[in-house]
Symmetry: C2
Subunit: 332 residues, 2 copies
Amino acid sequence: MTVIKAALLGFGTVGEGVYTAIQTHQSHLKKILGAEVEIVAILIRDKNKERLVDSKIRVTTDFQEIINIPDLHVIFEAIVGEEPGHTYLQQAIDKGIHVITANKVMFSKHGEQLIERSQKENVKIGFEATTAGGVPIIRTIQQLLQVNQIKKIQGILNGTSNFILTEMRNRKLCFEDALELAQEKGYAEADPTNDISGKDAFCKLMILSQLVFGEQPNWNEVEIEGITSITQEQIAEAEKRGQRFKHIAEITRVGNAIKASIQPIIVDTDHSLYPIEGVDNAIAIEASLVGKITLQGPGAGKLPTASAMIEDFVYIFQQAPIQEKILEYQSL
Amino acid sequence: MTVIKAALLGFGTVGEGVYTAIQTHQSHLKKILGAEVEIVAILIRDKNKERLVDSKIRVTTDFQEIINIPDLHVIFEAIVGEEPGHTYLQQAIDKGIHVITANKVMFSKHGEQLIERSQKENVKIGFEATTAGGVPIIRTIQQLLQVNQIKKIQGILNGTSNFILTEMRNRKLCFEDALELAQEKGYAEADPTNDISGKDAFCKLMILSQLVFGEQPNWNEVEIEGITSITQEQIAEAEKRGQRFKHIAEITRVGNAIKASIQPIIVDTDHSLYPIEGVDNAIAIEASLVGKITLQGPGAGKLPTASAMIEDFVYIFQQAPIQEKILEYQSL
């Protein structure tokens, strides 16, 4: 029996979700991969925090301890921020370890370079979880691109902002009260800046740009406007006209240039993103042959994001050459 | 340079779409597959109808001529109805030829048996185009199933019926006038029975059942109700209450039984399928980890359906073992 050895970097909401999903899906994973999946190590930041994990798992604050595990096959990265995630993944790739990341801030900036590096080293990178959580947008775009040119993408890529706009309309709240409600429900962080300013959606849009167009626009030229200045009155006025405010990230190719923006837009009932409510994310793709496809679902959350990472994991390890690699490892 | 040799069965709307998409995407397909794609033969029914195809392509009414082409790698089947499609695909599989089908009537009945047969013969079957046209529902479900249990699916699987219901509401038409409009626009056939009775949606729902639950309910126990008895008055009444009629195909597992139905349902604004209008299809999937995901897009049409078939094609020929098989063929 072969064993796939995995390590988790980060044990916050997403890391814990991956841990739980793997532990509870052991027999299922064994069936589809023909191998046991063993979590051998977890990288944490705070040694003193109590964690309920299997005592056989090495729990450490030292990444070098993890990277030096001799037969490690894959790393799940669920750390927040550009560093140390980027450095860790570079090291993992150079060691021939596959990586699966949920880190959008890091991947929007370093994704291209990491993918190039991984191709050289013949390892795989999964990044389905970086954009729109459990919505399988990355693989869908990859599939469509096989025979379609994608002309334009419009998305609601931040669930917090969409929840706030939805509740400002539904409950007739001002921005501050709707934000407080989002925080009470755990949909917004204590410091919500990244979400409500459009920065979070920006990172995801840059990842989509790289995937769809093979490049990103100049970051300084992307128009980014958050939702903080929208008033309850504006929303009520729009509603009277049958319209809604939506915070829309949009990317399109105009000639040789890529035009990207993230801003509140007033949409009519016939707009693909008009019906997207609450914390849901959605992406509308305009493709040359297929026409317009819209995907909608939970854009964040412990289990949806974990599901996306494990879908990547299965995809990577179902590829025949890598299966052989595991067999090679086992026979060493 | 390797060559992938393909044949088309049927040269109606979908067959022509596949032909056009392959001819116009030659250099792109060559890049991603590392092989030329050559359409070597087309099976037609009517010899006297004029067709604009490359003169090097063998156009024939005799399937045996096609199946006996010695190094044929793949067949695109776009024939309507159970036979002769089923017999042809069986023969193809037995000869080690991969098959890609858009034939939902045939596949809803014989899909399981064809898949079993193909596994024995080590060939692949693509059937993305059988259900919801260009919406990548089959692959998305396959991906989700890797780590999710799917509990329930609700879908608008017939664009004609959805168009009729939409226009009865929007233009305040009776059923007959809305059907006529659909026929004028090419969205309904001269004999629209299959679409408006729910039979077409039934076939697609059975394909989804097989995929999601590994089995189908007893066909006689599936409740099928079409849209023909819905009146303009009922639709107007619902609209006053902020509700809409949608023709919904639903499948769910209740204990050990699979419960399936296709019927008009009055839905509120917060229902996932409420905003689906016109000829679009949509499928809402409830999965254990990911939660609820909805996919929406064109459920039929020449190019969307062709796109789905070519996505299958690329998926099949990107699998390493099959690539080797082509190389083997070439070296014979």
